[in-house]
Amino acid sequence: MFRTLRLKYLATLLTLLCVFAATAQAAESEQDTLAITIAPPADLQVNDTPDDGGGSLTLTWKLSPDDTEKLGDIDGYEIFRASRRDTSLKLISMVGDNTTSFTDAGLERGQEYSYALRAKRGDSNSLLIYSDFAQPKINWFRSYRLNMLVLLLVFSASVLLYIRSAKGGKSLFIRKLAGLEAVEEAVGRATEMGKPVLFIPGISDLDEIQTLAGLSILGRVARITAQYETPLVVPVLYPMALAAAGEVVKGAYLDSGKSDSFKPDMVRYVAGEQFAYVAAVNGIMLREKPAANIYMGAFYAESLLLAETGFAAGAIQIAGTAMPEQLPFFIAACDYTLMGEELYAASACLSKEPLMLGSLKGQDLVKIALVGCILLGVIFELLQFGDGFFARLFLER
């Protein structure tokens, strides 16, 4: 009797367990049916990112068949990562729909990584797809910049060749720049009138190459003002330019043997804001009435404000900038304007040193080569030759 009862209980318990297991399986199966209503993406590939420093891998995949152009068909893709050291998958990012690549940066060089990916819409996910293991590797050269390296080498070789040739005593012809010829005339005029020369080295800091070009010209101008003992005023916008311009003017006066004529106040820091600087410089133009205004460097919206005030004050004006948008303003308001490359050539032309002039000739040679390339490109494009191959050689990335 007791044994029969125990068997009955056992049978009931087993039945309950079976029912519970069946119910749980049914629930899980129902959940799975819900979860895999989205088709998974396919063909997940992971490769080393080309042309990088070795800290990233690039993933590519094919879109889920459910990821169409229709808005909201899926939300995006969840990306998981594991490594040989830590094999558990961790969610690292989610990218939007219609995306087929992802770059995972900040990885440890030498470590192997594997990825998993699934499509996601609301609370539903597709099945995960997995990649093989891959390792980020260092690349020693940005191959997409090969064209720029070739151009740099050709350019440097051309410049160095002409510098060497100039060192050897070969005479080099450089065309005269009217604006530079006028510098001495302008300083002479200021000397005769007993008025100062105003030099503005642009409104950019020393990290701008145009400012350095302007300071180089300032050095040449300061030598002339030192010889003629003409007052020189150099207002600057940036403190670093103040220090550099101060050294340039001081050096020029020392070299000219006129160190007594140098005054630290020749180079002045007048303001730290663009239009406050304009107000200060225009004030100098109208109060001190300089006879010559020389603008050399990078200029922006203030170019015409300065040049027109100088024109109204009756000064002879010489400008030079490589900012194409400001050139028309200077051309309209100044007596002479150095355009683009002439600004960079000015210091070399004024120095008349063979080494400096040699670099200009080298630059001209490359310019001729580039003009040839442009003509070839136009011909190839007109004839539709090479399917744009020639133009692609010059693409900058």
Binding site: G54, F141, R142, L149, L206, V249, L304, P328, A333, L343
Partner: protein, 206 residues
């Protein structure tokens, strides 16, 4: 030494920046990034030089009761007020500095910028006088472009905007690109001269 050391620093800095442009090595990239940060830090320190320069120049005039000394005194007072108030109360909204910037400095800067409209008018008047063949071409082109950019131009002749776009997209752009290519080569040549130590005038030498 005084000449050679800056040239050596310029050479090394320039060379490393060029190398970092072509080689994606993390240490090189970090180094070139640090160089740029270093420039910013040096720039911050040189601000002191600027303040010393502006104070020295203006205090001298005020002390000697020179020309327009009242304006110089005002400049010194404003410089001190803005600096000291920003150190004490900060620069956020509601502070003295912020109020002065919004209600004094910004309107004054806007006023200076607005003057550009009048300067453009006077410069255009001189530039567009048809005294030579080139000036006449400039005048005709500018009239087409200006009219083509406003509704009145389209009202006068519906094809005017098309000709305006053509002028801007072909002759104008071609000239601009010519200038840009020349300037880029000039900048590269100048950089090479600086890196190799040939161009030293910007350091007060040579």
């Amino acid at each position: 030494m005084k000449t050679q050391l800056p040239i050596a620093i310029a050479f090394l800095s320039g060379f490393i920046m060029v190398i970092a442009f072509f080689i994606p090595e993390q240490h090189l990239e970090d180094f070139s990034q640090n160089l740029l940060t270093f420039v910013t830090i040096v720039g911050g320190f040189t601000l002191l030089l600027g303040i010393v320069s502006i104070m020295r120049a203006n205090i001298q005039v005020v002390v000697k009761r020179g020309k327009e000394w009242g304006f110089k005194l005002l400049l010194i007072l404003m410089l001190l007020t803005m600096s000291i108030s920003s150190f004490i109360w900060g620069t956020r909204e509601g502070t003295v500095y912020h109020w002065m910037f919004q209600n004094m400095q910004a309107p004054m800067m806007s006023t200076m910028f607005s003057l550009l409209a009048f300067f453009i008018a006077s410069a255009a008047y001189r530039a567009f006088r048809a005294r030579t063949k080139e000036a006449t071409i400039l005048l005709v082109t500018s009239v087409i472009v200006m009219l083509g950019r406003i509704p009145l131009g389209q009202f006068l002749w519906d094809k005017l905007p098309i000709y305006t776009d053509w002028i801007m997209a072909y002759p104008n752009l071609a000239v601009q690109r010519g200038i840009i290519i020349g300037a880029a080569l000039g900048a590269a040549s100048m950089s090479l001269r600086i890196i190799l130590g040939i161009e030293r005038t910007y350091m007060g030498k040579g």
